[in-house]
Amino acid sequence: MLKITNLSVSVDKKKIINNLSLEVPTGKKVAIMGPNGSGKSTLSNVIAGKGGYEINEGEILYNNNDILKLEPEERAASGIYLAFQYPVEIPGIANSSFLRTAINSIRKYNGKKELDTRAFLEECKEICEKLNIDKSFLSRDLNFGFSGGEKKKNEIFHMLMIKPTLCILDEIDSGLDIDALKVISEGITHYSNKDNSMLIITHYQRLLDYVKPDQVHIFNEGKIIESGNYELVKILEAKGYKEFV
C-alpha cells in the first residue's frame, strides 16, 4: 500500500529523514518507535503532505502512485489519514460540521454523492458510543477546550468516520489515561482489517500491547536502525533505545 524508497528530507538544510526506505503492506500494522527528535513526526507529516519540508531525494508511492506532488487534501481523498500528535483547536467550527465537510469533500473528490445528514448523525452517535464519547462532542467547537485525551479520542473518532485506507497514528497514545488508551486501542483494532493499513508511531509498549503490530521498526536520525516483529517491542521496553542507537 505504502512504499517509501530512499527518502531524504531536510528542513532549513538540516537533514531530518536520511535515505529512508519503508513499506507498509495492505492489511498490516507497522509500528515505528524511536527517541525524541528521531524524525518520526516529520515522516508522518511528509506522507500527509505538510509544507515546509524539502524533499531531497526518493519517492513515496501510495497504491503505486507517487504522492509527493499531491496536495494534502488530495492525499486525504485518496485514503491517507493522519491522526495528529497535537490536534489543533479551531474555535467557531463545530466538530460535527467540520467532519461532515471533510467527509463530503472527500466524497466529492471521489465522484460520490454527499452524505445524507441523518445517516451521518446516526453513524456519529454510533461511533461516539463505541469510543465512550459524550454526544456533546459533536456540537462542541473543534478540539476547542478539549482535554488532551479528548483530543486524541476525537482523532480516532474522525478516523472511524472518514474510513481511510492508510492510517498514520502519530503518538496517538501520548497523554492518555489507562481507560482512554484502552478505548482508543479497541477503536484502532476494530477498524483494522485486511483492506487497510496502519502506520503507528509511538514511544510506548502499552499501545502496541493492545494493537499488536505485524512489523516494528526502530527509528533514529531519520532512518531505520532495527526491524522486527512484536518481540522487538518487548526488548526495547526492557533495554531502552541506548541498546540500539
Binding site: 489543533v88 474555535p91 467557531g92 465537510t101
Partner: protein, 449 residues
C-alpha cells in the same frame, strides 16, 4: 448636473446655484418643507461645507480612507420624481420592509403599515407632533464635532454630515412607547444606477420611545453611486434596540456614513456593523444617562486595492454606563482595513466600564490592517480596557483541515468564517450577506446561490 467640479470653495452662491438651488427646484411637495425647515441652520451648514470641503487624510479620523475619488468624480443629484421601482427578486422583502430609493423613503413599495407600534414620518410631520426633537436632531455643524482632549472642538469631521443634511430633510422611524416589535424591521436602501454616478444622501432618524424594543436590519444595495449617509438613533429611557447595518452590495460605489446614537437611562443598544471595501463608517455613541449600555461589534473587510475604514467613538456621560466594542478585520489582496476605536469617559461618569478589542486577519503579503484603540478617561472610578491583535491564517490549522480532505480555499474560507463568527453574527441573516461576500473573496462555489 456637474456638482463638485464647478463648485468653488467659499463661493456660497455658486453652491446654491449648482447644488442646492437646482435640487430645490426639482422637488415639489418637499419644497415647502425645506423652506420651513427652520430647525436646520442651513446657512451655517452650507458655510461649513464650503469651508471644510470633503475631508482628507489631514484629519485624524479620515487618514485611513482616501477621498480623492470623491473630489474627482462628477457626481449628480438623482431625479426626485417618483419613478416606478422594481425590487430585485434576490432582495428578501419581509412584512416589515422600509424601502429607501436613492436615499428617500418610498411608501409605495414599503410594507410597514400593519406593524403595531412602528410609524414612519417626514421630519416635518414628526416635529409638529414632537417639537422637543427639533432641538435634538442634527441641525448645525457643532452637533457631532470631534471633542478633542485638548478641549478644542473640531468641526471638520462633520463636513459630510452637513452635505447630507443639506440635501435630504430626513425620515423619522418611530417605535412607540412600550411597543415591543419582535419581528426584525428591514431598512432597504436601493441606489442602483446604470447610467450615471449619483450622490445619494440617505438621512434616517430612528426614535425608540420609552420602554420600547425593536430589531432593525439595514441593508444597502448600491451601484455607481456615492452614498453619503446620515443616521441618528435616539433611545429613550429603558428602550432596547438591536441594529444591524451592512453593505449588501457595493458595486462600483463608495460609501461615507455617519451613524450617531444617543442613549438615555437604562437604554440598551446592540449595534452590528458590516463594513466593506470602499466604505467609511463614522460611528458615535453617546451614553448620556445612568446605566445606558452599548455593545458594538463589527466586521470590516476589504479587497483588491481598496480601503474599508471605521471610526467608532463611545462617549460615557452618565454614571454606570457600559460599552463594549469588538471588531474583526479581514484584508486581502493589496487592500487595507482599519478601525479607530475611541472611548471617552467624561467626568461624572463614575463606575462606568468600557472595552475595545480588535483582531485583524491579513490574507496576503500586500494587504494591511490598522487598529487604533484610544482611551480618554476623565473620571477616576472606571474600568477600561483595550487590545488589538494581527495575524495571518495559521498554517498548522490549514494543514490540519487539508489533511482531513478539505480543499485549501475551502479551508481558508472555513477558518475565516470561524474567525468572524467569534463576534456573534450567526443569529442574524447578516450571515448570509457576510459569508456571500467572503465567498466572493475566495471565489468559492456560486456566490449568487
Amino acid at each position: 448636473m456637474n456638482l463638485l467640479r464647478f463648485w468653488k470653495p467659499r463661493d456660497i452662491r455658486s453652491l446654491y446655484k449648482v447644488f442646492l438651488q437646482d435640487y430645490i427646484s426639482k422637488i415639489s411637495t418637499e419644497k415647502k418643507h425645506l423652506r420651513e425647515k427652520y430647525w436646520l441652520n442651513s446657512e451655517a451648514l452650507l458655510s461649513h461645507f464650503n469651508k471644510e470641503n470633503i475631508p482628507d487624510n489631514k484629519i485624524e479620523e479620515w487618514k485611513n480612507f482616501k477621498t480623492g475619488f470623491l473630489k474627482k468624480t462628477n457626481w449628480k443629484i438623482p431625479e426626485l420624481k417618483n419613478k416606478k421601482v422594481q425590487v430585485d427578486k434576490k432582495i428578501k422583502v419581509t412584512e416589515n420592509s422600509l424601502f429607501f430609493v436613492h436615499g428617500r423613503y418610498n411608501s409605495k413599495i414599503s410594507k410597514a403599515g400593519n406593524t403595531k407600534g412602528l410609524n414612519v414620518f417626514s421630519t416635518y410631520e414628526y416635529f409638529k407632533l414632537n417639537p422637543s426633537y427639533k432641538e435634538k436632531v442634527y441641525s448645525n455643524p457643532e452637533k457631532y464635532m470631534e471633542d478633542r482632549l485638548s478641549g478644542i472642538g473640531d468641526k471638520k469631521t462633520t463636513a459630510l454630515i452637513a452635505l447630507n443634511s443639506l440635501l435630504n430633510h430626513g425620515t423619522v422611524i418611530e417605535i412607540e412607547k412600550e411597543a415591543k416589535i419582535s419581528n426584525p424591521i428591514n431598512i432597504i436602501n436601493l441606489s442602483i444606477d446604470e447610467t450615471s454616478q449619483l450622490l445619494i444622501s440617505p438621512y434616517i432618524i430612528i426614535i425608540c420611545k420609552q420602554n420600547s424594543e425593536a430589531i432593525f436590519t439595514e441593508k444597502t444595495y448600491t451601484k455607481n453611486c456615492w452614498i453619503n449617509g446620515l443616521s441618528e438613533i435616539y433611545l429613550e429611557k429603558n428602550a432596547k434596540l438591536t441594529y444591524s447595518k451592512f453593505q449588501a452590495s457595493i458595486d462600483n460605489s463608495i460609501q461615507t456614513s455617519s451613524l450617531n446614537c444617543s442613549l438615555k437611562n437604562k437604554s440598551n443598544l446592540d449595534l452590528k456593523i458590516f463594513n466593506r471595501e470602499n466604505c467609511k463608517e463614522d460611528i458615535r455613541v453617546f451614553l448620556n444617562d445612568e446605566k445606558a449600555s452599548a455593545k458594538i461589534s463589527g466586521i470590516i473587510t476589504s479587497k483588491e486595492r481598496k480601503e474599508s475604514d471605521v471610526y467608532c467613538k463611545v462617549v460615557h456621560n452618565g454614571k454606570q454606563t457600559f460599552s463594549d466594542q469588538s471588531w474583526r478585520l479581514l484584508s486581502s489582496d493589496s487592500s487595507k482595513t482599519s478601525v479607530n476605536g475611541k472611548i471617552r469617559v467624561n467626568r461624572l461618569a463614575k463606575f462606568s466600564a468600557a472595552s475595545f478589542s480588535s483582531k485583524s486577519l491579513i490574507l496576503s503579503d500586500k494587504a494591511s490592517s490598522f487598529s487604533k484603540p484610544e482611551l480618554e478617561i476623565l473620571e477616576d472610578d472606571v474600568k477600561c480596557k483595550h487590545g488589538a491583535s494581527f495575524g495571518e491564517i495559521d498554517k498548522n490549522l490549514l494543514f490540519y483541515m487539508q489533511s482531513r480532505g478539505i480543499k485549501k480555499q475551502d479551508a481558508i474560507f472555513t477558518l475565516v468564517n470561524a474567525f468572524l463568527s467569534e463576534i456573534g453574527f450567526k443569529k442574524f441573516d447578516i450571515e448570509e450577506i457576510v459569508l456571500k461576500s467572503i465567498k466572493e473573496f475566495f471565489n468559492i462555489g456560486n456566490a449568487n446561490e
